[in-house]
Protein backbone atom coordinates (compact mmCIF):
# COMPACT_ATOMS: atom_id res chain seq x y z
CA UNK A 1 0.00 0.00 0.00
CA UNK A 2 1.29 3.39 -0.92
CA UNK A 3 1.99 5.92 1.75
CA UNK A 4 0.25 8.69 -0.19
CA UNK A 5 -3.24 9.20 -1.43
CA UNK A 6 -4.75 11.74 -3.82
CA UNK A 7 -6.81 14.31 -2.04
CA UNK A 8 -8.96 17.04 -3.52
CA UNK A 9 -7.23 19.90 -1.77
CA UNK A 10 -8.41 22.91 -3.68
CA UNK A 11 -11.97 24.00 -4.10
CA UNK A 12 -12.85 25.11 -7.61
CA UNK A 13 -13.51 28.64 -6.32
CA UNK A 14 -9.91 28.87 -5.14
CA UNK A 15 -8.64 27.52 -8.43
CA UNK A 16 -10.72 30.07 -10.30
CA UNK A 17 -9.57 32.91 -8.07
CA UNK A 18 -5.96 31.83 -8.48
CA UNK A 19 -6.16 32.05 -12.25
CA UNK A 20 -8.21 35.23 -12.16
CA UNK A 21 -5.60 36.93 -10.01
CA UNK A 22 -2.69 35.52 -12.00
CA UNK A 23 -4.32 36.31 -15.32
CA UNK A 24 -5.22 39.83 -14.31
CA UNK A 25 -1.68 40.50 -13.08
CA UNK A 26 -0.31 39.39 -16.45
CA UNK A 27 -2.79 41.53 -18.39
CA UNK A 28 -2.19 44.49 -16.07
CA UNK A 29 1.58 44.14 -16.41
CA UNK A 30 1.43 44.02 -20.20
CA UNK A 31 -1.07 46.85 -20.57
CA UNK A 32 0.77 48.79 -17.86
CA UNK A 33 4.01 48.41 -19.75
CA UNK A 34 2.29 49.64 -22.89
CA UNK A 35 1.06 52.71 -21.05
CA UNK A 36 4.61 53.29 -19.85
CA UNK A 37 6.16 52.69 -23.23
CA UNK A 38 3.72 52.34 -26.13
CA UNK A 39 5.53 49.70 -28.16
CA UNK A 40 3.11 49.14 -31.00
CA UNK A 41 0.43 50.93 -32.88
CA UNK A 42 -2.51 49.75 -34.95
CA UNK A 43 -4.38 51.04 -37.93
CA UNK A 44 -3.24 53.44 -40.55
CA UNK A 45 -2.24 57.02 -40.09
CA UNK A 46 -5.51 58.38 -41.33
CA UNK A 47 -7.66 55.69 -39.76
CA UNK A 48 -5.93 54.81 -36.51
CA UNK A 49 -7.20 52.42 -33.89
CA UNK A 50 -7.46 54.10 -30.50
CA UNK A 51 -4.87 51.72 -29.10
CA UNK A 52 -3.89 53.71 -26.05
CA UNK A 53 -7.50 54.31 -25.10
CA UNK A 54 -8.38 50.65 -25.39
CA UNK A 55 -5.27 49.56 -23.53
CA UNK A 56 -6.02 51.94 -20.71
CA UNK A 57 -9.63 50.84 -20.66
CA UNK A 58 -8.49 47.21 -20.38
CA UNK A 59 -6.08 48.18 -17.63
CA UNK A 60 -8.83 49.78 -15.56
CA UNK A 61 -11.31 46.93 -16.04
CA UNK A 62 -8.69 44.30 -15.16
CA UNK A 63 -7.63 46.34 -12.15
CA UNK A 64 -11.20 46.26 -10.91
CA UNK A 65 -11.37 42.49 -11.41
CA UNK A 66 -8.04 42.03 -9.65
CA UNK A 67 -9.10 44.09 -6.65
CA UNK A 68 -12.36 42.15 -6.37
CA UNK A 69 -10.59 38.79 -6.69
CA UNK A 70 -7.96 39.62 -4.09
CA UNK A 71 -10.60 40.85 -1.67
CA UNK A 72 -12.73 37.72 -2.15
CA UNK A 73 -9.68 35.47 -1.74
CA UNK A 74 -8.67 37.30 1.44
CA UNK A 75 -12.14 37.08 2.83
CA UNK A 76 -12.29 33.35 2.09
CA UNK A 77 -8.87 32.72 3.59
CA UNK A 78 -10.25 33.88 6.91
CA UNK A 79 -13.94 33.15 6.85
CA UNK A 80 -14.57 30.36 4.36
CA UNK A 81 -16.83 27.62 5.68
CA UNK A 82 -15.01 24.83 3.87
CA UNK A 83 -11.38 25.92 3.67
CA UNK A 84 -10.31 28.93 5.70
CA UNK A 85 -6.65 28.44 4.87
CA UNK A 86 -4.91 31.60 6.08
CA UNK A 87 -2.76 29.51 8.41
CA UNK A 88 -1.38 27.64 5.39
CA UNK A 89 -0.79 30.59 3.08
CA UNK A 90 -0.13 33.45 5.47
CA UNK A 91 2.04 34.15 8.47
CA UNK A 92 0.54 32.17 11.33
CA UNK A 93 1.79 30.22 14.30
CA UNK A 94 1.62 27.15 12.10
CA UNK A 95 3.67 28.53 9.21
CA UNK A 96 6.13 30.32 11.50
CA UNK A 97 6.77 27.07 13.38
CA UNK A 98 7.51 25.28 10.13
CA UNK A 99 9.65 28.14 8.78
CA UNK A 100 13.13 27.27 10.24
CA UNK A 101 12.85 23.75 8.95
CA UNK A 102 11.72 24.95 5.54
CA UNK A 103 14.55 27.47 5.33
CA UNK A 104 17.18 24.90 6.18
CA UNK A 105 15.60 22.55 3.65
CA UNK A 106 15.81 25.17 0.90
CA UNK A 107 19.38 25.99 1.93
CA UNK A 108 20.28 22.30 1.63
CA UNK A 109 21.04 21.99 5.34
CA UNK A 110 18.59 19.13 5.65
CA UNK A 111 17.27 16.53 3.30
CA UNK A 112 13.61 16.44 4.11
CA UNK A 113 10.83 18.49 5.54
CA UNK A 114 7.50 17.93 7.15
CA UNK A 115 4.37 17.96 5.04
CA UNK A 116 3.09 21.38 3.91
CA UNK A 117 -0.62 21.45 3.24
CA UNK A 118 -0.60 24.29 0.72
CA UNK A 119 2.16 26.83 0.05
CA UNK A 120 5.52 26.26 1.70
CA UNK A 121 6.24 28.34 4.82
CA UNK A 122 8.64 30.65 2.96
CA UNK A 123 5.81 31.60 0.61
CA UNK A 124 3.38 31.89 3.49
CA UNK A 125 5.57 34.03 5.72
CA UNK A 126 7.39 36.18 3.16
CA UNK A 127 6.15 36.02 -0.40
CA UNK A 128 2.37 36.17 0.01
CA UNK A 129 2.48 39.02 2.57
CA UNK A 130 4.84 40.88 0.23
CA UNK A 131 2.35 40.34 -2.58
CA UNK A 132 -0.37 41.78 -0.38
CA UNK A 133 1.79 44.79 0.44
CA UNK A 134 2.39 45.41 -3.25
CA UNK A 135 -1.29 44.92 -4.05
CA UNK A 136 -1.94 47.66 -1.53
CA UNK A 137 0.65 49.94 -3.17
CA UNK A 138 -0.72 49.09 -6.60
CA UNK A 139 -4.27 49.82 -5.59
CA UNK A 140 -3.49 53.08 -3.77
CA UNK A 141 -1.21 54.51 -6.44
CA UNK A 142 -3.53 53.18 -9.12
CA UNK A 143 -6.58 54.86 -7.63
CA UNK A 144 -4.60 58.05 -7.12
CA UNK A 145 -3.60 58.08 -10.80
CA UNK A 146 -7.11 57.14 -11.85
CA UNK A 147 -8.65 59.86 -9.75
CA UNK A 148 -6.10 62.34 -11.03
CA UNK A 149 -6.95 61.41 -14.59
CA UNK A 150 -10.70 61.23 -14.45
CA UNK A 151 -11.66 63.51 -11.61
CA UNK A 152 -9.92 66.81 -11.89
CA UNK A 153 -10.58 67.71 -8.29
CA UNK A 154 -7.36 65.97 -7.29
CA UNK A 155 -5.60 69.23 -6.60
CA UNK A 156 -8.19 70.01 -3.96
CA UNK A 157 -7.39 69.09 -0.41
CA UNK A 158 -10.67 67.28 0.01
CA UNK A 159 -9.87 64.74 -2.71
CA UNK A 160 -9.85 61.12 -1.60
CA UNK A 161 -6.38 60.12 -2.75
CA UNK A 162 -4.35 63.33 -2.85
CA UNK A 163 -2.48 62.15 0.27
CA UNK A 164 -1.08 59.26 -1.77
CA UNK A 165 0.84 61.81 -3.82
CA UNK A 166 2.41 63.21 -0.66
CA UNK A 167 3.40 59.74 0.55
CA UNK A 168 4.93 58.56 -2.73
CA UNK A 169 6.70 61.74 -3.72
CA UNK A 170 4.41 63.70 -5.98
CA UNK A 171 3.19 63.12 -9.51
CA UNK A 172 6.35 61.45 -10.74
CA UNK A 173 6.85 59.40 -7.56
CA UNK A 174 3.40 57.85 -7.76
CA UNK A 175 3.99 56.94 -11.40
CA UNK A 176 7.41 55.49 -10.70
CA UNK A 177 6.13 53.32 -7.86
CA UNK A 178 3.18 52.18 -9.91
CA UNK A 179 5.58 51.24 -12.68
CA UNK A 180 7.97 49.34 -10.35
CA UNK A 181 5.07 47.01 -9.60
CA UNK A 182 5.43 45.36 -13.01
CA UNK A 183 8.91 44.24 -12.09
CA UNK A 184 8.13 43.46 -8.47
CA UNK A 185 5.23 41.21 -9.47
CA UNK A 186 7.39 39.58 -12.11
CA UNK A 187 9.89 38.68 -9.38
CA UNK A 188 7.25 37.46 -6.95
CA UNK A 189 5.53 35.41 -9.65
CA UNK A 190 8.85 33.88 -10.66
CA UNK A 191 9.56 32.82 -7.09
CA UNK A 192 6.04 31.47 -6.73
CA UNK A 193 6.21 29.41 -9.92
CA UNK A 194 9.71 28.17 -9.10
CA UNK A 195 8.63 26.91 -5.68
CA UNK A 196 5.67 25.11 -7.24
CA UNK A 197 7.92 23.57 -9.89
CA UNK A 198 10.45 22.51 -7.30
CA UNK A 199 7.75 20.86 -5.24
CA UNK A 200 6.28 19.13 -8.26
CA UNK A 201 9.65 17.72 -9.24
CA UNK A 202 11.03 16.86 -5.84
CA UNK A 203 7.86 15.59 -4.20
CA UNK A 204 6.15 14.23 -7.33
CA UNK A 205 2.90 15.11 -5.64
CA UNK A 206 1.12 16.62 -8.68
CA UNK A 207 1.37 20.16 -7.35
CA UNK A 208 1.25 21.67 -10.84
CA UNK A 209 -1.80 19.67 -11.77
CA UNK A 210 -3.49 20.50 -8.51
CA UNK A 211 -3.91 24.15 -9.43
CA UNK A 212 -5.94 22.95 -12.41
CA UNK A 213 -7.98 20.10 -10.97
CA UNK A 214 -7.50 20.45 -7.24
CA UNK A 215 -6.08 16.96 -6.60
CA UNK A 216 -2.75 16.49 -4.91
CA UNK A 217 -0.89 13.50 -3.44
CA UNK A 218 -0.84 13.79 0.32
CA UNK A 219 0.88 11.56 2.88
CA UNK A 220 -1.73 9.22 4.23
CA UNK A 221 -1.42 10.43 7.79
CA UNK A 222 -2.08 14.02 6.69
CA UNK A 223 -5.02 13.19 4.49
CA UNK A 224 -8.47 14.10 5.69
CA UNK A 225 -9.89 11.23 7.70
CA UNK A 226 -12.74 10.50 5.39
CA UNK A 227 -13.18 11.11 1.76
CA UNK A 228 -11.17 13.20 -0.60
CA UNK A 229 -13.29 16.27 -0.78
CA UNK A 230 -11.08 18.15 1.61
CA UNK A 231 -14.30 19.28 3.11
CA UNK A 232 -13.89 17.41 6.34
CA UNK A 233 -11.17 19.07 8.26
CA UNK A 234 -8.62 17.32 10.39
CA UNK A 235 -7.11 19.06 13.34
CA UNK A 236 -4.04 20.94 12.30
Amino acid sequence: MSDRIAVKQRHWVYIMLHWLIGGMIIVLAVTGFYIHKPFFTLGSETDPVMVMSWIRWTHFICAAILIESVLIRLEMAFFSHFDADWRDIGPSRKSLKALPEALSYFLFLRKDHRYWRKANPVMAVFVFPLMLLFYAIAILTGFALFEGTFFWELTNTNSLFSWVYDVFGGQQGVRTWHYYLIWVFACLALIHVYFALLRTLSERDRTFRSILNGWRLVPRKHAPIRGASGRKKRGK
Binding site: R4, P48, L201, S202
Partner: protein, 354 residues
Protein backbone atom coordinates in the same frame (compact mmCIF):
# COMPACT_ATOMS: atom_id res chain seq x y z
CA UNK B 1 -8.09 103.50 -17.10
CA UNK B 2 -4.65 103.98 -18.45
CA UNK B 3 -4.67 106.63 -21.16
CA UNK B 4 -2.55 104.51 -23.55
CA UNK B 5 -5.03 101.65 -23.77
CA UNK B 6 -7.88 101.83 -26.24
CA UNK B 7 -11.37 101.16 -24.95
CA UNK B 8 -11.60 98.24 -27.32
CA UNK B 9 -8.42 96.61 -26.09
CA UNK B 10 -9.50 97.19 -22.52
CA UNK B 11 -12.87 95.49 -23.00
CA UNK B 12 -11.15 92.63 -24.78
CA UNK B 13 -9.00 92.08 -21.73
CA UNK B 14 -12.08 92.22 -19.50
CA UNK B 15 -13.80 89.65 -21.71
CA UNK B 16 -10.82 87.34 -21.65
CA UNK B 17 -10.59 87.65 -17.90
CA UNK B 18 -14.27 86.84 -17.45
CA UNK B 19 -13.91 83.69 -19.55
CA UNK B 20 -10.81 82.62 -17.68
CA UNK B 21 -12.45 83.10 -14.30
CA UNK B 22 -15.39 81.04 -15.47
CA UNK B 23 -17.78 84.00 -15.47
CA UNK B 24 -20.32 84.62 -18.19
CA UNK B 25 -19.83 87.45 -20.66
CA UNK B 26 -22.56 89.33 -18.83
CA UNK B 27 -19.87 90.06 -16.29
CA UNK B 28 -17.71 91.98 -18.73
CA UNK B 29 -19.27 95.41 -18.11
CA UNK B 30 -19.07 94.83 -14.38
CA UNK B 31 -15.43 93.85 -14.63
CA UNK B 32 -14.77 96.96 -16.70
CA UNK B 33 -16.61 99.04 -14.14
CA UNK B 34 -14.79 97.47 -11.21
CA UNK B 35 -11.45 98.11 -12.85
CA UNK B 36 -12.30 101.67 -13.84
CA UNK B 37 -13.95 102.70 -10.65
CA UNK B 38 -11.58 101.04 -8.23
CA UNK B 39 -11.78 104.15 -6.10
CA UNK B 40 -8.29 103.69 -4.96
CA UNK B 41 -6.10 101.49 -7.09
CA UNK B 42 -4.74 98.84 -4.77
CA UNK B 43 -1.08 99.50 -4.23
CA UNK B 44 1.14 96.63 -5.31
CA UNK B 45 4.58 95.83 -4.00
CA UNK B 46 6.56 93.57 -6.27
CA UNK B 47 9.36 91.70 -4.51
CA UNK B 48 12.23 90.47 -6.62
CA UNK B 49 13.91 87.70 -4.63
CA UNK B 50 16.20 84.91 -5.84
CA UNK B 51 14.97 84.72 -9.40
CA UNK B 52 15.96 85.30 -12.98
CA UNK B 53 13.42 88.08 -13.62
CA UNK B 54 11.80 85.79 -16.16
CA UNK B 55 8.50 86.14 -14.31
CA UNK B 56 8.51 89.91 -14.73
CA UNK B 57 9.59 89.44 -18.31
CA UNK B 58 6.70 87.09 -18.97
CA UNK B 59 4.29 89.34 -17.08
CA UNK B 60 5.34 92.53 -18.80
CA UNK B 61 5.67 91.35 -22.36
CA UNK B 62 3.49 88.53 -23.38
CA UNK B 63 -0.08 89.69 -23.75
CA UNK B 64 -1.60 92.21 -26.00
CA UNK B 65 -2.54 94.75 -24.73
CA UNK B 66 0.49 94.52 -22.59
CA UNK B 67 -0.07 93.52 -19.04
CA UNK B 68 2.36 96.11 -17.76
CA UNK B 69 0.21 98.86 -19.23
CA UNK B 70 -2.97 97.36 -17.91
CA UNK B 71 -1.48 97.07 -14.49
CA UNK B 72 -0.35 100.65 -14.55
CA UNK B 73 -4.00 101.46 -15.17
CA UNK B 74 -5.55 99.06 -12.72
CA UNK B 75 -3.14 99.05 -9.86
CA UNK B 76 -0.63 101.35 -8.41
CA UNK B 77 2.73 99.66 -8.66
CA UNK B 78 4.49 101.29 -5.76
CA UNK B 79 7.62 99.23 -5.74
CA UNK B 80 9.24 97.15 -8.46
CA UNK B 81 13.01 97.08 -8.61
CA UNK B 82 13.32 96.79 -12.34
CA UNK B 83 10.77 99.25 -13.60
CA UNK B 84 10.21 101.78 -10.78
CA UNK B 85 11.37 105.32 -11.36
CA UNK B 86 12.64 105.87 -7.85
CA UNK B 87 15.96 104.41 -6.75
CA UNK B 88 17.96 103.85 -3.59
CA UNK B 89 16.65 105.57 -0.46
CA UNK B 90 13.61 107.02 -2.25
CA UNK B 91 12.51 103.61 -3.38
CA UNK B 92 12.85 102.14 0.10
CA UNK B 93 10.95 105.08 1.52
CA UNK B 94 8.15 104.36 -0.97
CA UNK B 95 8.10 100.77 0.23
CA UNK B 96 8.00 101.82 3.89
CA UNK B 97 5.14 104.23 3.26
CA UNK B 98 3.15 101.54 1.47
CA UNK B 99 3.75 99.05 4.25
CA UNK B 100 2.64 101.52 6.89
CA UNK B 101 -0.51 102.34 5.00
CA UNK B 102 -1.42 98.65 4.65
CA UNK B 103 -4.02 97.07 2.40
CA UNK B 104 -1.57 96.47 -0.42
CA UNK B 105 -0.97 93.39 -2.53
CA UNK B 106 2.44 91.76 -2.53
CA UNK B 107 3.53 90.02 -5.70
CA UNK B 108 6.58 87.95 -4.87
CA UNK B 109 8.93 86.68 -7.53
CA UNK B 110 11.84 84.43 -6.60
CA UNK B 111 12.83 82.23 -3.71
CA UNK B 112 13.81 83.17 -0.17
CA UNK B 113 17.30 82.11 0.96
CA UNK B 114 16.86 80.35 4.29
CA UNK B 115 20.03 78.23 4.37
CA UNK B 116 22.56 81.01 3.65
CA UNK B 117 20.56 84.15 4.51
CA UNK B 118 23.30 86.41 3.16
CA UNK B 119 22.96 84.84 -0.28
CA UNK B 120 20.44 87.56 -1.07
CA UNK B 121 20.64 90.99 0.57
CA UNK B 122 18.19 93.73 -0.35
CA UNK B 123 18.59 97.21 1.11
CA UNK B 124 20.90 95.74 3.73
CA UNK B 125 18.45 93.09 4.88
CA UNK B 126 18.42 89.35 4.35
CA UNK B 127 15.71 88.08 2.07
CA UNK B 128 13.88 86.52 5.04
CA UNK B 129 13.71 89.77 7.01
CA UNK B 130 12.98 91.80 3.91
CA UNK B 131 10.14 89.53 2.78
CA UNK B 132 8.69 89.26 6.28
CA UNK B 133 8.67 93.02 6.62
CA UNK B 134 7.20 93.63 3.18
CA UNK B 135 4.40 91.10 3.69
CA UNK B 136 3.69 92.07 7.30
CA UNK B 137 0.83 94.42 6.55
CA UNK B 138 -0.30 93.05 3.19
CA UNK B 139 -3.88 92.33 2.25
CA UNK B 140 -2.78 89.42 0.07
CA UNK B 141 0.48 87.78 -0.94
CA UNK B 142 0.60 86.40 -4.45
CA UNK B 143 3.66 84.24 -5.11
CA UNK B 144 4.30 84.06 -8.82
CA UNK B 145 6.66 81.68 -10.54
CA UNK B 146 7.96 78.33 -9.42
CA UNK B 147 10.70 79.96 -7.30
CA UNK B 148 8.38 82.04 -5.14
CA UNK B 149 5.93 79.17 -4.83
CA UNK B 150 8.11 76.08 -4.35
CA UNK B 151 11.73 77.24 -4.32
CA UNK B 152 12.47 76.90 -8.00
CA UNK B 153 15.54 75.73 -9.82
CA UNK B 154 17.93 76.98 -7.13
CA UNK B 155 16.14 74.68 -4.68
CA UNK B 156 17.43 71.69 -6.64
CA UNK B 157 19.13 69.15 -4.41
CA UNK B 158 21.34 69.70 -2.46
CA UNK B 159 19.94 73.24 -2.35
CA UNK B 160 22.95 74.97 -0.74
CA UNK B 161 21.22 78.32 -0.16
CA UNK B 162 18.18 76.69 1.39
CA UNK B 163 15.97 78.28 -1.24
CA UNK B 164 12.31 78.04 -0.32
CA UNK B 165 9.03 79.39 -1.56
CA UNK B 166 7.63 82.41 0.27
CA UNK B 167 4.90 80.41 1.94
CA UNK B 168 7.34 77.76 3.20
CA UNK B 169 10.00 80.23 4.26
CA UNK B 170 7.73 82.56 6.23
CA UNK B 171 4.99 80.16 7.21
CA UNK B 172 2.31 82.39 5.72
CA UNK B 173 -0.54 81.68 3.32
CA UNK B 174 0.10 82.77 -0.22
CA UNK B 175 -1.71 82.49 -3.49
CA UNK B 176 0.61 80.31 -5.56
CA UNK B 177 0.84 80.86 -9.29
CA UNK B 178 3.67 78.53 -10.28
CA UNK B 179 5.31 78.27 -13.64
CA UNK B 180 8.72 78.86 -15.05
CA UNK B 181 7.67 81.47 -16.04
CA UNK B 182 4.13 81.89 -14.70
CA UNK B 183 1.36 82.74 -17.08
CA UNK B 184 0.48 86.46 -17.16
CA UNK B 185 -3.21 85.74 -17.75
CA UNK B 186 -3.38 83.79 -14.52
CA UNK B 187 -1.72 86.59 -12.57
CA UNK B 188 -3.94 89.31 -14.05
CA UNK B 189 -7.07 87.23 -13.56
CA UNK B 190 -6.21 86.58 -9.91
CA UNK B 191 -5.82 90.29 -9.30
CA UNK B 192 -9.00 91.12 -11.19
CA UNK B 193 -10.83 88.52 -9.14
CA UNK B 194 -9.58 90.25 -6.02
CA UNK B 195 -10.71 93.65 -7.25
CA UNK B 196 -14.07 92.35 -8.40
CA UNK B 197 -15.10 90.26 -5.42
CA UNK B 198 -12.91 91.71 -2.71
CA UNK B 199 -11.45 88.30 -1.98
CA UNK B 200 -8.97 85.89 -3.46
CA UNK B 201 -10.10 83.15 -5.86
CA UNK B 202 -10.68 79.60 -4.65
CA UNK B 203 -7.38 77.84 -3.98
CA UNK B 204 -6.44 74.18 -4.08
CA UNK B 205 -4.38 72.21 -1.56
CA UNK B 206 -1.17 73.72 -2.87
CA UNK B 207 -2.43 77.30 -2.82
CA UNK B 208 -3.07 77.42 -6.57
CA UNK B 209 -6.17 79.14 -7.95
CA UNK B 210 -8.45 76.32 -9.07
CA UNK B 211 -9.74 78.27 -12.06
CA UNK B 212 -6.34 77.79 -13.65
CA UNK B 213 -4.79 74.72 -12.04
CA UNK B 214 -7.51 72.13 -11.64
CA UNK B 215 -6.78 70.52 -15.00
CA UNK B 216 -3.67 69.04 -16.47
CA UNK B 217 -1.82 69.94 -19.63
CA UNK B 218 -2.70 66.47 -20.94
CA UNK B 219 -6.44 67.10 -20.45
CA UNK B 220 -6.52 69.97 -22.92
CA UNK B 221 -3.58 69.18 -25.16
CA UNK B 222 -4.07 69.56 -28.89
CA UNK B 223 -1.96 66.42 -29.45
CA UNK B 224 -4.17 64.36 -27.17
CA UNK B 225 -6.03 62.56 -29.99
CA UNK B 226 -2.70 61.19 -31.16
CA UNK B 227 -1.94 60.02 -27.64
CA UNK B 228 -5.19 58.07 -27.57
CA UNK B 229 -4.57 56.60 -31.03
CA UNK B 230 -1.07 55.42 -30.20
CA UNK B 231 0.62 57.84 -32.59
CA UNK B 232 3.81 59.09 -31.02
CA UNK B 233 6.80 61.15 -31.98
CA UNK B 234 9.88 58.92 -31.79
CA UNK B 235 12.50 61.47 -32.72
CA UNK B 236 12.91 65.22 -32.56
CA UNK B 237 12.77 66.93 -35.92
CA UNK B 238 10.83 64.06 -37.42
CA UNK B 239 7.86 64.20 -39.72
CA UNK B 240 5.60 62.94 -36.93
CA UNK B 241 6.56 65.86 -34.74
CA UNK B 242 5.53 68.29 -37.46
CA UNK B 243 2.30 66.39 -38.00
CA UNK B 244 1.38 67.00 -34.39
CA UNK B 245 1.80 63.49 -33.01
CA UNK B 246 1.90 63.10 -29.24
CA UNK B 247 5.19 63.76 -27.44
CA UNK B 248 4.59 61.22 -24.67
CA UNK B 249 7.52 59.04 -25.71
CA UNK B 250 9.79 62.09 -25.83
CA UNK B 251 9.23 62.47 -22.10
CA UNK B 252 6.25 64.81 -22.12
CA UNK B 253 5.20 65.52 -18.53
CA UNK B 254 1.80 66.86 -19.60
CA UNK B 255 -0.03 64.00 -17.89
CA UNK B 256 1.62 64.98 -14.61
CA UNK B 257 1.32 68.75 -14.77
CA UNK B 258 -1.51 70.91 -13.50
CA UNK B 259 -1.47 73.93 -15.74
CA UNK B 260 -3.67 75.86 -18.16
CA UNK B 261 -0.96 76.22 -20.84
CA UNK B 262 -2.88 74.60 -23.73
CA UNK B 263 -5.72 77.06 -23.11
CA UNK B 264 -3.85 80.27 -22.33
CA UNK B 265 -0.88 79.72 -24.64
CA UNK B 266 2.29 81.82 -24.63
CA UNK B 267 3.97 84.54 -26.63
CA UNK B 268 0.95 86.71 -27.24
CA UNK B 269 -1.18 83.58 -27.56
CA UNK B 270 0.80 82.36 -30.55
CA UNK B 271 2.00 78.98 -29.37
CA UNK B 272 3.09 76.94 -26.40
CA UNK B 273 5.71 74.30 -25.53
CA UNK B 274 3.89 71.23 -26.79
CA UNK B 275 2.47 73.10 -29.75
CA UNK B 276 5.97 73.95 -30.88
CA UNK B 277 7.01 70.31 -30.67
CA UNK B 278 8.76 70.32 -27.32
CA UNK B 279 7.50 68.04 -24.57
CA UNK B 280 6.10 69.75 -21.50
CA UNK B 281 8.72 69.62 -18.78
CA UNK B 282 6.19 70.19 -16.04
CA UNK B 283 7.46 73.59 -15.04
CA UNK B 284 4.34 74.31 -12.98
CA UNK B 285 4.64 71.31 -10.67
CA UNK B 286 6.40 71.37 -7.31
CA UNK B 287 9.98 70.09 -7.47
CA UNK B 288 9.86 69.58 -11.24
CA UNK B 289 13.59 70.37 -11.36
CA UNK B 290 14.41 67.28 -9.28
CA UNK B 291 11.54 64.96 -10.07
CA UNK B 292 10.95 65.46 -13.79
CA UNK B 293 14.55 65.73 -15.04
CA UNK B 294 15.91 64.38 -17.53
CA UNK B 295 13.11 65.99 -19.27
CA UNK B 296 13.13 63.92 -22.44
CA UNK B 297 12.50 60.53 -20.87
CA UNK B 298 9.45 58.99 -19.29
CA UNK B 299 10.62 57.95 -15.80
CA UNK B 300 14.26 58.99 -15.72
CA UNK B 301 16.65 59.57 -12.87
CA UNK B 302 14.58 58.24 -10.05
CA UNK B 303 16.15 57.71 -6.65
CA UNK B 304 16.97 54.06 -6.02
CA UNK B 305 14.81 52.93 -3.09
CA UNK B 306 17.11 52.29 -0.14
CA UNK B 307 20.17 54.02 -1.64
CA UNK B 308 20.31 57.68 -0.71
CA UNK B 309 21.66 59.91 -3.46
CA UNK B 310 21.84 57.21 -6.11
CA UNK B 311 19.75 57.86 -9.21
CA UNK B 312 19.03 55.79 -12.24
CA UNK B 313 16.11 55.04 -14.52
CA UNK B 314 13.07 53.12 -13.31
CA UNK B 315 13.56 50.63 -16.15
CA UNK B 316 17.08 49.87 -14.97
CA UNK B 317 16.01 49.33 -11.36
CA UNK B 318 13.17 47.06 -12.44
CA UNK B 319 15.16 44.94 -14.84
CA UNK B 320 18.00 44.60 -12.33
CA UNK B 321 15.49 43.31 -9.79
CA UNK B 322 14.17 40.70 -12.20
CA UNK B 323 17.66 39.68 -13.34
CA UNK B 324 18.68 39.17 -9.72
CA UNK B 325 15.60 37.04 -9.08
CA UNK B 326 16.17 34.97 -12.20
CA UNK B 327 19.78 34.44 -11.16
CA UNK B 328 18.78 33.47 -7.62
CA UNK B 329 16.12 31.06 -8.78
CA UNK B 330 18.45 29.64 -11.43
CA UNK B 331 21.25 29.01 -8.96
CA UNK B 332 18.85 27.36 -6.55
CA UNK B 333 17.44 25.22 -9.34
CA UNK B 334 20.92 24.06 -10.34
CA UNK B 335 21.80 23.30 -6.74
CA UNK B 336 18.56 21.40 -6.30
CA UNK B 337 19.24 19.37 -9.42
CA UNK B 338 22.81 18.68 -8.30
CA UNK B 339 21.62 17.48 -4.94
CA UNK B 340 19.39 14.98 -6.65
CA UNK B 341 16.22 16.56 -5.27
CA UNK B 342 14.63 17.08 -8.66
CA UNK B 343 14.52 13.33 -9.27
CA UNK B 344 11.80 13.25 -6.68
CA UNK B 345 10.07 10.56 -4.74
CA UNK B 346 8.31 7.69 -6.43
CA UNK B 347 4.83 8.78 -7.29
CA UNK B 348 2.07 6.95 -5.58
CA UNK B 349 -0.59 5.64 -7.89
CA UNK B 350 -3.13 4.82 -5.31
CA UNK B 351 -5.88 7.36 -5.08
CA UNK B 352 -8.84 7.66 -2.85
CA UNK B 353 -11.66 9.12 -4.81
CA UNK B 354 -14.77 8.47 -2.94
Amino acid sequence: MHPHISRRAFLKLCGGTAAYLGLSQAWVPRIALALEQAAKRPPVVWLSLMACSGCLESFAKSVNPSTAEILLGIISLNYQETIMAAAGKDAEANLQATIEEGGYIVIAEGAVATGIPEALMIAGKTSIDYTREATSNAAAVVAIGTCATYGGVQAMKPNPTGAKGVSDALGIETVNIPGCPPNPDTIVSTIVHYLLFGKLPELDGKGRPTFAFSQKVHDNCERRAHFDSGQYVEEFGSEEEAKGYCLYKMGCKGPETHSPCPLTLWNSKQNWCVGSGNPCIGCMEPEFWDKFAGFYERLPDVPVPGFVGVKTSADYIGSTLVTATVAGVGIHAIASAASGRMKGKPESEEGSED
